[in-house]
Amino acid sequence: MKISGAELFVKALKAEGVKHLFGFPGGVVIPVFDVLYSEPEIKVILTRHEQGAVHAADGYARSTGKTGVCLVTSGPGATNTVTGIATANFDSVPIVCFTGQVSRSMIGNDAFQEADIVGITRPITKHNYLVLDRRDLGRILKEAFTIANSGRPGPVLVDLPKDVILEKGDDEYPAKVSIRGYNPVLKGHPNQIKRAAGELKKAKKPLFYVGGGIHIAGAVEVFRKAVKKTGVPVVHSLMGTGAVPGDDPLSLGMLGMHGTYVANMAVSHSDLLFGIGNRFDDRATGDLSKFAPEAKIVHIDQDPVSISRNVPVEVPIVGDARQVLEQMLPLLEATKIDEWLEQLSSWRKEHPLEVQVGRDGNTGHLRPDSVIRTICRVFPDAIIATEVGQNQMWTSQFFTFRHPRSLLTSGGLGTMGYGFPAAIGAQFANPDKRVIDIAGDGSIQMNIQELATAVYNKLPVIVAILNNGYLGMVRQWQELFFDRRYSSTCLMTGAECPPQCKGPGDHCPVYHPDFVKLAEAYGAVGLRVMKDSDIEPALKEADRIKDRPIFIDFLVEREFNVFPMVAPGAGNTDMIFSEGGE
């Protein structure tokens, strides 16, 4: 049977089990939306910005492991997806992004709403396609879905010229494709696995260091078994959060720039660092010359590129984390490392996590740690999205994550504005779970238009804004390293402000904008919390609402900092615990 490209596209989505499509229409993709108009099996979610559509597909994918799908138009529609695609690429999230393109005969002519999106996204996708022949469409669609969610997952973009969308052609959507240049290695090499297990047995100060790969591979369960069997303690990167429950005695927390003291000390003194699905990135390692100086390194990763890139690895294992750990589990034995564990627990007591009171003392505003700890108490099993900056680091420090895939955060690219649309995507995929975006007042304004998407789809996403009136993380760096020269970081700077302001004063408005009114304007619920005793009641009130998003504006102390901190470029044991730099 002859069908149009648009019809084949929809057929492919159905064959792939796609239930939700995040999109935004435009001239050249009208025929695709037209087919979707009468398609009951696929829910099309109209976001209010293409960036929101990609982040929503990303949140959908991260929270489930399924491929997120979005569809946008050519030109500006396509270029608006760039940040979302780069975000997904950095954190290995399977999404397929379909963009419209001008007709083939117009390509290269600077036609209206033309952009070379395949050229633009080449370095930020796992792979991308421009479909130039209707006969290739079925195969390309299948390849796109295959590549996006296999091996090390990532975003794939498919650019669809308008005339390819319209052209009638065959209706075949292949069940399988083989791509000769793409054969991800899943099973680990048996000898290497034996060596790795042997190293673990010999070590006196072993340490697991896990990253996001452990969630992506679905390896959390087998990893927890390995931890239980060996008794080896665990540190994690931001993306590895939740690999073991945050309150497990063997969990030392996050390592790196805003990691725990005990995690950083552990890495620095360990004699065997056993990496799984991590990539030794600079926020985790600090100064490489001072990173894990005494450790032999074992590294399991899906992507050979990650291995021996930043640190030399003694035992490399290329493979899927779950399969490799399953192969290895029978070889693992209980370790006798009491001395090491004692040392770790004394480091843990030496500097527990807490928010230090700001330089000007507590002015009666809320403490971000109390807000997040209370969220954790009221919603212990929620899926948490974050924006980027202080809100993100505080969330990783004070929310106790117990489940895999429960933290959605832009770790690699560090995209402000990611959290809210990602939470929306996650809520679609997890209608029975609580999804909470922990945001800053800066980040939330980067994709706040998605309030409309959440309201019209009756999504009870809770947005907890830690409102300090600053772009807090940059302000923190300015305070610590730039003599409090708060250049362009105050979100309430106006004409009346003193020049070269170095901190909040009596002239400052209490808040801006009024997030409560703003939420209400969209038809959402807005709450404001200014007192400690109101945190929990506000969260409980939010929990009663099941049919609308809820914005809670928590007015937190303006100049609280994230501590401990490893100064940029310093070694991981060189931690700062307060403004004094102690």
Binding site: S178, G181, K187, G188, H189, S308, R309, G319
Partner: protein, 184 residues
């Protein structure tokens, strides 16, 4: 150190720019790149010459392998292999200098492609070193134009680079062996 990488790639649009973009985007040093179709019209061979320490070369090879359109990457530097480059060189040569230029060309086994009133075009094939030398020797005659093809290379012997996935089945072992070599 300079390495010569010979690659088989899908003959798809944009492959060259994926590879060139990888080098510019990641700050790798690319000295030359040539591309042409192989006996199989769906497969192109790309030969590239790049520079870097062992870690960088290791990363370059892994990054190239990661590209979906790249079927196979072979580092020819440690292997017995043949390397050739072609150059067209236009020199200024007055009628009374032609004889000398002919002699120089003869020594380098270059061919004279064109003779004009006061210029000549020469074609020379050989290693990049030989071409460098030839150009240096021609300097006194004033070089008008130089066009170099970039290096193309091939492993010696009867071995044939395969594009078949089933013959690359040992990928896992291969990768892990590669690492062992790097580490040792």
């Amino acid at each position: 150190m300079t390495h010569v990488l010979s690659m088989l790639v899908e003959n798809h649009q944009g492959v060259l720019s994926r590879i060139a973009g990888l080098f510019s985007g990641r700050g790798y040093n690319l000295e030359s790149i040539t591309a042409g179709v192989t006996a199989d019209s769906q497969v192109s061979r790309i030969t590239l010459v790049c520079k870097g320490d062992d870690n960088v070369i290791d990363q370059i090879k892994k990054q190239l392998n990661k590209l979906i359109d790249v079927i196979k990457v072979t580092d020819l530097s440690p292997l017995p292999s043949l390397h050739r480059e072609l150059a067209l060189i236009k020199v200024r040569a007055k009628p009374n200098q032609r004889g000398e230029v002919f002699q120089v060309a003869d020594v380098f086994r270059a061919r004279v492609l064109d003779v004009g009133i006061d210029s000549m075009v020469l074609e020379v094939t050989g290693s990049s070193d030989k071409i460098d030398n030839f150009i240096a020797v021609l300097q006194p005659y004033t070089l008008r134009e130089v066009a170099r093809s970039g290096l193309i290379s091939m492993e010696r012997g009867r071995k044939q680079t395969s594009t078949q996935p089933q013959q690359r089945k040992g990928a896992s072992e291969k990768l892990n062996e590669d690492f062992k070599i790097t580490i040792a």
